[in-house]
């Protein structure tokens, strides 16, 4: 009898953990999809800043990199407010302290960058890394890596920006 109960118990635990693993995998697939969208959004927003610079006649790396052959990135994070003419962040990234690396969700169901102390924050963290290659005034380019991480996992979107609209 004891042996039967033991075997059944092990079987039940096995079945339960199988269903649990399956459900967790589906949640992970869902998070992967959301993160991929957010990473793509970050990379495309940086691209839009470059496009705006070109269209209005600014230096093409304006608000993205501090100097053509030295300096550092001016963009730690970016969200859709960079496309909103009513926003103080219109055509700008977040840069420096306080770090706006977390993703929050607003009452209108839009994701936006926020600080760690924001009560609306989600599990997602999004950062933008910009690396300069060569002299930006003479053929150099910027490599954009937008990373979205959550619960120890991460996904990235990469883009290369030149002094043209491609």
């Amino acid at each position: 009898m004891m042996v039967v109960v033991f075997v059944l118990g092990i079987g039940l635990i096995g079945a339960l953990s199988f269903f649990n693993i399956n459900l967790n995998n589906q949640f992970e697939a869902k998070n992967e999809l959301i993160a991929a969208g957010l990473a793509q959004e970050g990379a495309d927003l940086v691209r839009n800043l470059r496009d705006y610079n070109l269209l209005v006649g600014n230096s093409w790396y304006n608000n993205l990199y501090s100097s053509p052959n030295a300096g550092s990135s001016l963009c730690d994070a970016v969200d859709y407010s960079s496309l909103d003419p009513n926003s103080a962040r219109f055509h700008k990234c977040y840069n420096g302290a306080p770090s706006h690396d977390h993703i929050c969700i607003g009452s209108d169901n839009l994701y936006y960058q926020c600080t760690n102390s924001d009560s609306a924050k989600t599990d997602f963290i999004r950062t933008v890394d910009i690396t300069r290659n060569g002299n930006l005034d003479s053929g150099g380019y910027l490599e954009i890596v937008c990373t979205v991480s959550w619960n120890g996992r991460a996904t990235t979107a990469t883009d290369i920006l030149y002094n043209n609209t491609f």
């Binding site: 589906q26 949640f27 269209l55």
Partner: protein, 206 residues
Amino acid sequence: MEKKSKKIQKRNKGFTLIELMVAMFIFMMVMVAMVAVSIAGFRSYSKSKAIKTVTEDVGFAINSITKDVRMGKIESAYANGGEGNFLLVTRNANQTKVCYKITNSNKQLILVDKSKNDCTADTGGAEKILVDLGTDMDFDATSGFRSCVTDNKGDGTVTACNGVSNEKRRGWAEINLNIEDPTMDTDSIHVQTIVSSRDYGWESVP
């Protein structure tokens, strides 16, 4: 002889009532546990199936829209950060207009071929459901599009793109899909991304 008879008597004694009750109790407990596991399993299966279906449908919708936006010319414009329920794109290959539209009534994401500027189908145009709604999924009221035209053909009505002229404009589309399944005890899925057109309308510049 007497000893042998006693042994046989002991062997044929059977179970006592207490032993039977204990055995039945353990059996019942095992059965209850098995039923509970089965129910949990079925629930888990249907929940994961719903999440998987939504995830795949959203992926398909995003990929489809992204392809058209990247390769085509964005026609719909929502100025000053406004949001609308459709996204109108002209495909560069054959100049066919297509519209991705979230219907208010049945909350579906549909694709309209050969659409007019207001996103209604021309004669001969087709209207088809882009995402299968077989599992009762809804695009809720917060789903929508923000977009800015690539080239507004000089009518000067767009303010959000901020190019140097009506012809020199960038085009982008923000896709914001919030999907829920009212029949399932599962969280809604909210996917948000921005896609830029690679057609900047330069050919229109004199």
